[in-house]
């Protein structure tokens, strides 16, 4: 059961990938718990019990955010896209499309070497000066 979170043999996975997978599993569990509490609260008539469940659901949300932040810190491109989607008013799908386009174009303009290139791969040096 400890290795159910892996889709590939754990022994073949690098440590960083195993950690990433663990946090993905954790994120899923938090999201499931948030959904379960939402359903429980919808049918619970006892106000005291309801308050406890609301508090517990808040904890799950907090853990969900911490897991998500961890994963985004390790995926800079997706972090950039997430920044264009989260905490903004307006059309969510539109924000998603725009954020993805800008982030991917930005990545391409940072001077990453072309596939098969024998260049030194220097590209842009913006952000490297003091």
């Amino acid at each position: 059961m400890g290795t159910e979170q892996y889709h590939e043999p754990p022994s073949e996975l690098p440590a960083a990938t195993r950690t990433f997978a663990r946090l993905c599993t954790s994120l899923t569990e938090e999201a499931e718990a948030i959904g379960w509490y939402e359903q429980r609260m919808a049918v619970e008539p006892d106000r005291e019990a309801l308050a406890i469940m609301r508090d517990a659901q808040g904890e799950e949300f907090k853990h969900f955010c911490m897991d998500l932040e961890f994963l985004l810190r390790r995926t800079p491109l997706w972090r950039e896209i997430a920044e264009g989607i989260l905490f903004s008013e307006g059309d969510i799908v539109e924000h998603g499309e725009e954020a993805e386009e800008e982030a991917v174009e930005g990545e391409a303009s940072k001077g990453a070497p072309l596939a098969g290139s024998e260049s030194l791969g220097i590209g842009t040096l913006r952000g490297t000066a003091s």
Binding site: S109, L120, I122, L125, R126
Partner: protein, 266 residues
């Protein structure tokens, strides 16, 4: 095999890595323009020209036909040749840590200075208008007194704000001005470098190839560097004593917003 012909050189994979690492290490500190302008590409060695999005009328077109021709900016190819003694390459393969790559270091510096000079000063013969020569703002004289540098830089920043160019700004300092800044502390011992950094709010860059300094907007697609082939090492030929190589790149540069920079003359 690419046009760099690296596979033809009598150089092992490990020594190619050594040469590439050395070139990167020497180039990065001196490539000032890349720390300030907008970089796009690399688009590959086959990329020959930058699209300017403009056309010009073609004369003598057939009756009833309006003809225009696209205007493009051809990329310039720069190459800095150098040699490495084969005995040094053999020593590198034995694990020597002090391989003599002096000529490579000099070639890297020449190429970096040439790139900076093209971007900041311009290169008429290659059709490149530089930042300093394009700006419509009057140049500001830096003068001899380093302690007055903050005043001049602040004036340049005010000039940019005055025409609606908001920050972040960057400061490219020619070698002499850069040395002066590093050596100077103001009243109370506060380093001049820190004071200038606070004024511009962006990077301060050592810029060999620049005389004086340039205050400019960083980002925002005002200064456009387009790379065809990014900096690479290629192979020319060899004899019993030495291997002849070269550092090479192709690029274009254009100023989209001339008013987004102010030149400070020595």
């Amino acid at each position: 095999m690419s046009h760099l012909l690296r596979e033809q050189a009598p150089i092992t994979e490990a020594t190619w890595r050594l040469l590439d690492d050395e070139a990167r290490e020497r180039l990065a500190p001196a490539l000032a323009a890349r720390k300030l302008v907008d970089f796009s590409g690399p688009r590959g060695w086959e990329h020959s020209a930058t699209n300017l999005g403009r056309v010009e009328k073609v004369g003598d077109s057939p009756d009833g036909i309006d003809a225009t021709q696209r205007r493009v900016m051809p990329l310039v190819e720069m190459r800095a040749p150098f040699s490495v003694a084969r005995s040094e390459l053999a020593d590198a393969d034995r694990g020597a840590e002090d391989v003599d790559l002096e000529e490579l270091d000099q070639a890297a510096h020449r190429l970096a200075v040439a790139e900076n000079a093209a971007v900041f000063n311009g290169w008429g013969a290659a059709g490149i208008a530089g930042i300093a020569e394009s700006t419509p703002h009057d140049p500001i004289a830096l003068g001899e007194d380093c302690e007055r540098y903050p005043r001049h830089v602040a004036k340049a920043v005010d000039t940019l704000r005055g025409v609606g160019i908001d920050g972040p700004y960057g400061l490219a300092l020619g070698p002499e001005a850069h040395t002066n800044v590093l050596e100077t502390s103001q009243h109370g011992g506060y380093p001049l470098l820190e004071h200038l950094r606070e004024i511009v709010g962006g990077p301060l860059v050592w810029a060999p190839g620049v005389e004086g300094a340039i205050v400019m907007r960083v980002g925002g697609d005002h200064f456009l560097f387009e790379s065809g082939e990014d900096l690479s090492i290629g192979y020319l030929d060899h004899d019993v004593d030495a291997v002849r190589l070269y550092l090479e790149e192709s690029f274009s540069f254009r100023v989209a917003t001339p008013e987004a920079a102010v030149a400070l003359t020595p």
